[in-house]
């Protein structure tokens, strides 16, 4: 794979790979712990169990990431628009009733039998490449408003499609990624500040509407999305003029919806300093943490309960290493394209980490965002490893020919 002559230039960023390995080990260990209560005792053969499948995805992902490193990222960038277009295409067809499979009220996956293909994950990567490619034009061009709006458009297309699925979390991470990439590329700060201001006002209006507006004026939003926001703010589910019975119903519903967040908090908090021990977590074994959530979106709460604050710090440290080595790669990249790709990947991963862990400790409302490499899920693992492959790619090819 590597030609001896170019060996010294094509050194991989070892530190990042070590941190990666650490995260992958944790991933397998805790997917195991989260599912052992329900699966190990059941009749599933070992090769069908979640932790084994996670390892398979790791292997596949590493393979894909390594394959990508063979090709200079400039070549990849030339195909970025094609990739971008392809993911847009998949994002559209996943919305079509019989192609995209409906689960829990959302159409996000295309069922390929052995693999649940989630277009939004790949769309994020394609977006980063396409955006990096777009932004790597000369800096003066970026000062033109037209270019700025085209960049925003590049971001809003997948944003809108993903939002339609609906998958608010995945759509949301596109925004900081895009904005940070634009910032690093050299877009004038005023443009960015103004658009952030507008986005902020829109966001506040939306929140005000969800929390305070009477039913007639409420923006059309899926019920569970509204409820998640209400749960986060601890607001009453019932309308102001509801009857006593409706209020009682609403309170019950509120208890149900707050349940998951409350259980996550209890999991995390009861871990204390050292945690309960691997596979000793009560929340999963007693099924207070709902089965479906424990091993993907809320995997962090399992780690937090079983390894305590010490474990949480280890996880944060591993992510910090990955992210900051990514920034180092960005700094050492030989051109703006490489820098932007690295920064984009770093921001994307960081957004995932911040929102997911924040969700587990209730500083962020619940959104269905996986924790990169630790959550169970083929698409998420593949894309995380491909993204890291891109970063390594930038690092390997940091010296010109």
């Amino acid at each position: 794979m590597t030609s001896p002559a170019l060996n010294e230039r094509r050194k991989l960023d070892r530190l990042q790979l070590v941190a990666l390995a650490g995260l992958m080990c944790l991933g397998v260990a805790f997917v195991y712990s989260a599912t052992v209560a329900s699966q190990a005792a059941s009749t599933l053969p070992w090769y069908d169990q979640s932790w084994v499948r996670q390892m398979v995805w790791y292997a596949l992902g590493l393979g894909a990431g390594a394959a990508l490193c063979l090709v200079d990222y400039h070549t990849l960038a030339r195909w970025s628009l094609v990739a971008y277009g392809a993911t847009l295409f998949f994002l559209v067809i996943v919305l079509i009733p019989h192609i995209g499979s409906m689960r829990f009220g959302a159409r996000r996956w295309i069922d390929l039998g052995f693999f649940q293909f989630q277009p939004s994950e790949f769309a994020k990567l394609a977006f980063i490449l396409a955006m990096a490619n777009f932004l790597s034009r000369p800096a003066e061009e970026l000062r033109q408003p037209a270019v700025f709006w085209k960049g925003i458009g590049l971001m809003l297309l997948p944003f809108g499609l993903i939002l339609k699925e609906p998958d608010m979390g995945s759509a949301l991470v596109l925004v900081p990624t895009g904005l940070v990439m634009m910032f690093v590329a050299g877009t004038p700060k005023s443009f960015l500040l103004r658009s952030m201001g507008v986005a902020g006002i829109l966001g506040a209006l939306l929140l005000a509407d969800v929390l305070f507006a009477p039913p007639a004026l409420q923006i059309k939003m899926l019920e569970y999305q509204r409820q998640r926001l209400l749960v986060y703010f601890g607001a009453d589910f019932a309308a102001r003029n509801a009857t006593l019975e409706q209020k009682a119903d609403a309170r019950r519903l509120q208890a149900d919806r707050s349940y998951q967040v409350q259980q996550a908090l209890i999991s995390v908090g009861s871990g204390g300093l050292w945690g309960a021990g691997w596979c000793q977590g009560k929340q999963t074994s007693l099924q207070f943490m709902p089965q479906g959530a424990a091993h993907n979106d809320f995997i962090f709460s399992v780690i937090a309960e079983e390894e305590g604050f010490v474990g949480s710090v280890v996880v944060l440290t591993l992510y910090a290493v990955v992210l900051f080595t990514g920034l180092r790669i960005a700094g050492q990249a030989r051109d703006r394209l490489g820098k932007l790709v690295a920064v984009g990947v770093v921001t994307l991963l960081f957004s995932h980490v911040f929102i997911n862990i924040g969700m587990n400790i209730r500083i962020v409302p619940v959104t269905g965002i996986p924790l990169p490499l630790l959550s169970y899920g083929g698409s998420s693992v593949l894309c995380s490893l491909i993204a890291l492959g891109l970063m390594q790619n930038v690092h390997i090819h940091r010296r010109g020919y």
């Binding site: 871990g271 300093l273 099924q287 290493v321 700094g331 820098k339 980490v353």
Partner: protein, 659 residues
């Protein structure tokens, strides 16, 4: 360091990005610190609250024994045939799934029928109307559970040969509130039922036998009033944890010894914690505080005398008699027997409520201590003592024409007309004599003497149910409203006075033992149930002296001789027991209505024996009897016969020790 390097770079934008990254990670770190370290205990508490249930374990109640250690109240195991719902979880799930499948099929068919009718497929909005709400889903699951449990219950019923049904409302409520505890189907099953159950059912999941202790009174209604009864009370006692999720059945005493010594008998409840899962099903348990068993209470009662008294009363007066008997040890004040008739069943709920509320029988009342009665002639010895102490010559004669006038009041005398001295007045119970000498001695002296006997005051028993009796105070008899007629009544034990049988027993014991008024002792000691456990025994001192009547030995001898003659020659003859010298006094008190007509009689026989060295006092009171002699004395006779038998029989304990 990696992070610091990034923050110090030349590239301002990357620097800003690095800074934001660091800030974001720091926020997460701070948040995790807050949740996992600062609030850890609070969340640990939440975890325990939702996954642990505490159960209060009542302690084994102490027994109540007689002075020789024979059991009056104890505990027996009761076997409850119960369902253990966590064993049925799998069946519940299967049944729920089946119900749900059935319901979805029904719904699909209904939708198909609608579509056929309309001729077009239903829109999403219309279909939504037929969606199952969470309420309906829960109802489905509840029905499925009920079906499974009900099938098991009727299977049990079939095996036991009796039809059994499961109350759906109770089952649902129990599932909501007490899921982790066993659900009782047949409480307190008979041994036969348990045997059949063990044969046929045990081993199949979900049903098993659950053991609880229950109070039992092996001697039936014997000493029922003394023992008292229990009521269900699951509350935490002082010094125990106030919060428990579940409480096993516990009881507290309401009256009698069960009430008076309740905290000793009860011991201290313990606790265990059960681990439950998110649905509330039981997983494991762990006893963190073992219950401390209660202490046994040893009474001064002698079961032989108690039973003899009760049987004698029953055979002479029948089951509807309203009566009281007290037997006391005159040298120590120990209560050897206390009977109140009609008896109730200490297993309170086994009593017929109509019987309990009968206004005439009033069976719940302890007639030996709780009811006021006119003493009638049995008060005359006290009047006599007052007169003797005031200087009466016992040989002086008083003329009895068969009546006496006090002022303008005519008081009849049942003693045959003639001349009476002290001795014959006691023998024949002559009203005229005692009124005469009483008035001559002065009512104040009589009142003072009665005061020394502590009439009109409680005797201080540790159980509830005691009344003070009535006796006029000195001030009252000195007031101008007090007439000679009232004094005359007092002299014959009628009018403005009333006593309880226990007061009379204490009084006659004083006459017997030379003048000491004791505090009657009911409980001898409190000891731990298991002698090997190392608990402490509390002894209650016997012979606690309350006072002394301060009467000369000479007066007492005169009185005692007269009372001996009373049983030999006088109205007390039916009490005679060959081989025992008994001193006694009969009494027949009239109960008057407002118009001073006799509506009822209270008959008495108060006595002590043996004459030479008195040891026992026996007081018998029967409501609505004929006369003290024929009604009450024969019962005393039976009791003394039993006493004599015991005195003469070799002590079995002594024999065993000698061997």
């Amino acid at each position: 360091m990696l992070i610091l390097d990034e923050l110090k770079k030349n590239d301002p934008q990357l620097r800003l990005v690095a800074g934001m990254l660091a800030a974001g990670l720091f926020i997460l770190l701070a948040g995790l610190w807050w949740v996992q370290v600062v609030s850890a205990r609070e969340y640990q508490g939440h975890l325990e609250t939702q996954s642990y249930r505490t159960v209060r374990l009542p302690a084994m109640r102490g027994k109540i024994l007689d002075r020789e250690g024979r059991v009056l109240a104890e505990n027996r195991p009761s076997y409850n045939l119960s369902l253990y719902l966590d064993d049925l979880r799998k069946q519940f799930k299967m049944a729920s799934d089946a119900e749900y499948a059935r319901a979805t099929n029904a719904r699909a068919r209904f939708i198909a029928a609608q579509e056929k009718q309309l001729g077009r497929p239903l829109t999403k909005a219309e279909e939504k109307r037929f969606a199952f709400t969470t309420g309906q889903m829960e109802q489905l699951r509840g029905q499925a559970r009920y079906r499974v449990a009900s099938a098991l219950v009727s299977q049990v019923g079939q095996e036991l040969g009796q039809p059994l049904t499961l109350d759906p409302a109770k089952f649902a409520r129990d599932y909501e509130t007490r899921l982790a505890m066993p659900y009782t189907v047949i409480p307190d099953a008979s041994p036969e039922q348990v045997a059949r159950f063990e044969e046929q059912i045990t081993g199949s999941p979900g049903a098993d036998v659950d053991l609880q202790p229950v109070r039992s009174y092996p001697l039936g209604t014997t000493a029922a009033h003394l023992l008292g009864y229990l009521q269900r009370d699951d509350d935490s006692q002082a010094g125990e944890d106030p919060d428990f999720n579940y409480r096993l059945p516990d009881y507290r005493g309401v009256t009698g010894i069960e009430w008076g010594f309740d905290s000793w008998l009860r011991g201290r409840a313990g606790g265990e914690s059960m681990l439950v899962n998110n649905l509330g099903y039981y997983q494991t348990n762990d006893v963190w505080s073992a219950p401390e068993p209660g202490h046994n209470v040893v009474l001064t009662i002698d079961l032989d005398l108690q039973r003899a008294a009760e049987e004698s009363l029953l055979s002479h007066q029948g089951p509807d008699a309203r009566a009281a008997i007290v037997v006391m040890d005159v040298q120590t004040g120990d209560v050897l027997a206390m009977v109140s008739a009609p008896e109730i069943n200490p297993d309170y709920l086994a009593n017929d409520p109509k019987f309990l509320s009968d206004p005439k029988l009033r069976p719940e009342m302890n007639r030996a201590t709780q009811q006021n009665y006119a003493p009638g002639s049995i008060f005359k010895p006290i009047v006599g003592l007052a007169a003797l102490e005031a200087g009466l010559n016992p040989d002086a004669l008083v003329d009895n024409p068969g009546y006496v006038y006090v002022g303008r009041r005519h008081i009849a005398d049942l003693a045959p007309p003639g001349q009476y001295n002290f001795r014959s007045a006691i023998i024949e119970s002559c009203n005229t004599y005692f009124i005469t000498v009483g008035l001559r001695a002065g009512i104040e002296n009589v009142v003072r003497m009665a005061g020394k006997f502590h009439l009109g005051e409680r005797t201080g028993l540790p159980t509830r149910q005691e009344t003070t009796g009535i006796f006029p105070a000195l001030k009252q008899v000195q007031s101008p409203d007090w007439r000679d007629g009232d004094s005359a009544n007092i002299c014959i034990g009628q009018g403005e006075m009333a006593v309880t049988p226990i007061q009379m027993a204490v009084a006659y014991a004083a006459i017997a033992n030379g003048g000491t008024i004791f505090w009657p002792r009911l409980v001898e000691r409190i000891e731990p149930q298991d002698p090997a456990s190392g608990g402490t025994t509390t002894n209650f001192p016997s012979g606690l002296v309350r006072g002394n009547i301060g009467v000369s030995g000479r007066s007492l001898k005169i009185l005692r001789d007269a009372m001996l003659a009373e049983t030999v020659e006088g109205t007390g003859q039916p009490a005679q027991v060959p081989g025992l010298q008994i001193c006694g006094k009969t009494g027949t008190a009239q109960v008057m209505n407002e118009r001073n007509q006799e509506v009822d009689r209270t008959t008495w026989f108060a006595s002590f024996a043996p004459y030479e060295h008195p040891r026992y006092a026996v007081v018998v009171m029967v409501e609505s009897g004929t006369f003290g002699g024929p009604t009450c004395a024969p019962i005393a006779h039976d009791i003394y016969a039993e006493i004599l038998k015991k005195e003469n029989a070799p002590a079995p304990a002594a024999l065993a020790e000698a061997n």
